[in-house]
Point group: C2
Chain length 342, copies 2
C-alpha cells in the first residue's frame, strides 16, 4: 500500500472504532441470551460463565480447560415423535429391502414396509435395534454420508413440515455461542449415531465433526474393487454413548472432564454427575419438556408416564432438585423456542 496523506486520519478513525467495540464488549451491552427469560436457569448460566472466565475470580478456569458437553436429542433439538435418526432408519428400509429382497418377509422389516404407523410405533426396542443395525451399517462411510445427507435435505418433520435440522432450540444455540464467545470448546455428546450427527453438527450448531461424540460402531479399513482404500461400517458396536457410556465416551474422545454439561434424560445422568464431581465451578443442567403448546410436554414432572423417547424420569427430576442441577423449563425459561417462530 502506498502511503498517502489521508492514511494517518484513517488509522485514527480505525483506532477509535476499535476502542468503541472493545468498550461495548467489556460492558456486555449485547445480551448473549436474548431468548431466555430472567430466572434461575438463565442466572445459573450467566453466573457460571462469569465465575469461570473473569480474571482474578476464585473460580477462574484457564481457556484450555473450558470444556462443555451437550446431549443432542431433546437438549439441542426436538426428539418427538421419535429420534430423527430412527426416522431416517425407518425411511431407509425400502431401499434396504430392494438391495436385500429376502428381508421383505422378515420381521420387523415387514411391519416397517406396511407403513402402518401405529404398528411401527409399537415395535419393541430389540426390533428397532435390528433396523438401526441393518440401515446404519454394511455400507462404506462415504456411501452412508451420501445416503443420510440426501435424506436430511429432503425429509420434513410431520408437525411443522420443516427440515429436521431447523428444529433446534434457539435458546440452546445461544448458550453454545455464548460459551464459545467465552473461549469454551463445545462438544456434542449424543446417544445418537456419531456418524449421523457429524453430518450436520458443524452447519447446525457450529460443532465440527471432531467435537461430536456419539454411539459409534467399528469400521474396517479395506479396498474397493478399483483398489481404492475405504472405510466400511461393520455391524459391531464400539461405544454405546448412553448412561455410563457418556463419561466413558467423553474420556475416550475428549480426554478431560467437562466443566459444564447439558442433558434432558436419564441417558445423560452419568454425564451430569461426572461433570459435577470435578473440582471447582461446575454447571450441570437439564432441559424439561413442559410446553405442550409450543413443543411437547412429557415426563413425570407433568405427571405423564415415562416414554420410550426422552426418559426424564421422576427419579432424575428428584435427584436434580436434591443435588442442585438447575432444571430448565421450556415453558417458563424460554421466550422463544425456534428461530423461525413468529
Amino acid at each position: 500500500m502506498r502511503q498517502t496523506p489521508v492514511f494517518p486520519v484513517l488509522a485514527r478513525f480505525a483506532g477509535l472504532a476499535l476502542l468503541f467495540l472493545v468498550v461495548l464488549e467489556v460492558q456486555g451491552q449485547t445480551d448473549p441470551l436474548p431468548s431466555w427469560n430472567d430466572g434461575a436457569a438463565r442466572k445459573a448460566i450467566v453466573d457460571f460463565v462469569q465465575a469461570t472466565t473473569t480474571q482474578g475470580s476464585p473460580q477462574f478456569v484457564p481457556p484450555a480447560e473450558r470444556i462443555a458437553t451437550f446431549d443432542q436429542d431433546g437438549t439441542l433439538w426436538v426428539e418427538k415423535p421419535m429420534y430423527t435418526q430412527v426416522l431416517y432408519c425407518l425411511d431407509r428400509v425400502p431401499a434396504l429391502v430392494k438391495a436385500r429382497p429376502e428381508l421383505a418377509n422378515v420381521e420387523p422389516f415387514t411391519t416397517v414396509l406396511s407403513g402402518d404407523r401405529a404398528a411401527i410405533s409399537r415395535l419393541p426396542l430389540e426390533d428397532l435395534e435390528k433396523i438401526l443395525v441393518a440401515t446404519l451399517t454394511g455400507v462404506s462411510v462415504d456411501e452412508f454420508k451420501t445416503q443420510a445427507g440426501r435424506w436430511l435435505e429432503m425429509a420434513r418433520d410431520p408437525r411443522w413440515k420443516r427440515p429436521y435440522t431447523e428444529l433446534t432450540y434457539l435458546p440452546m444455540q445461544e448458550v453454545l455461542e455464548y460459551l464459545r464467545a467465552n473461549a469454551f470448546k463445545t462438544f456434542i455428546v449424543t446417544g445418537g449415531g456419531q456418524d449421523f450427527v457429524r453430518l450436520y453438527g458443524e452447519r447446525v450448531y457450529g460443532v465440527p465433526p471432531e467435537q461430536v461424540v456419539g454411539t459409534a460402531g467399528v469400521t474396517r479399513y479395506g479396498y474397493d474393487k478399483a483398489g481404492k482404500p475405504f472405510l466400511f461400517k461393520e455391524p459391531k458396536l464400539l461405544l454405546n454413548d448412553n448412561d455410563a457410556g457418556k463419561p466413558e465416551g467423553i474420556h475416550l474422545m475428549i480426554g478431560r472432564r467437562p466443566i459444564a454439561a447439558f442433558g434432558n434424560s436419564t441417558g445423560d445422568r452419568d454425564m451430569l454427575e461426572y461433570t459435577r464431581a470435578g473440582h471447582g465451578a461446575r454447571l450441570a443442567m437439564i432441559v424439561l419438556h413442559d410446553d405442550a403448546v409450543r413443543e411437547y410436554a412429557y415426563g413425570p414432572a407433568q405427571g405423564l408416564p415415562d416414554s420410550k423417547v426422552g426418559t426424564f424420569t421422576k427419579a432424575l427430576y428428584d435427584e436434580a432438585r436434591k443435588v442442585g442441577w438447575p432444571v430448565v423449563s421450556m415453558k417458563t425459561d424460554w421466550k422463544r423456542i425456534f428461530a423461525w417462530e413468529e
Copy 2:
C-alpha cells in the same frame, strides 16, 4: 477511559504499528521452518501449505477442512532405544509387584525385576504386551495420570540424560506451528497409549488431549468406596491405533480425512495411504532415521535390518518413492534436530 488530547496520536501510532505487523506477516519475512535445510522435503511442505491456504488457488482448502495428523514415536520424538511408554511400563513393574507379590515369580515380571537389560531387550512381543496390560490398566484414570505424570518428570533418557519430553524434533515442532499458523488443526495419531500421550501433548506439542488419538482401552464408569464417581481402566483393548487402526481411529475420533499426514514406520502406512486417497492437494511424508551421529540410524535405507522398534521397512521405502510420499532425511533435511543442541 477519559479522553485526553494525546489519545488520537496514540491511536494513530497503534494503527501504523498494526499495519506494519500485517505487512510483515503477509510478506512472510519470518522463516517458518528455520531448522530445515533447503531441499525437496522442505519445499513439499511449503508448496503444500501455500497451495491449500492461498485464496483463489485451485487447491484452496477451507480452514475447517485443514486437518493434519502426526504419528508420535519416531516422527515427533525419539523412539530409541525403546518406546518411551514401554520404558515407563518396565519402570513400573517393581511397584506393581509390590502391590501384587504373586507376580514376582511369574514371567516376564521375573526377568524385568532382575534388571538384566540384555534379557529384557530380548523379551518377545507377547511378553511386552503382558507388561503393558499389567501396568497401564487396573487403575483409575486419575491414579494413572498421577503415576505416569510423576515418572515423566523424574525419568531421564539413557543417552542425553534429559527428560523424554525434551527429545522432540525441533523441525517437526516447526511444522506443527507452521500448520497451525495457517489455520490447520493438528492431531497426534499414535500407536502409543492415548492416555499416556495426552499427559504431555499440550505442553510439549501444543496439541490438547482431545486432539490426541492413540491406542485406547475400555474404561468403566463406577464409584469408589466414598461414593465418588470415577473411571477405571479395564484390561480390554478398544482401539489398536496402528496400521489399519490409524485410519479407523481417525474416523472414530476426528471424523474426517486428514489432508496432511506424517509418519515414520509401517504402522503409519495406512494413515498415509488414506490421507493421500482423498481429493485435492495432499501431503503424506515419512521421516527417515539416517543420522547415527546426531540421533540414530536404522531401517533398510541404511542397509540395516528391520528392527522391532520403528519398522521403516524396505517395502515402505520403495512404496514411498513409487507413490510420491516425500521422505525426510534427518541427516540432510534437518539443520538441527533438538532445540537444546549447540
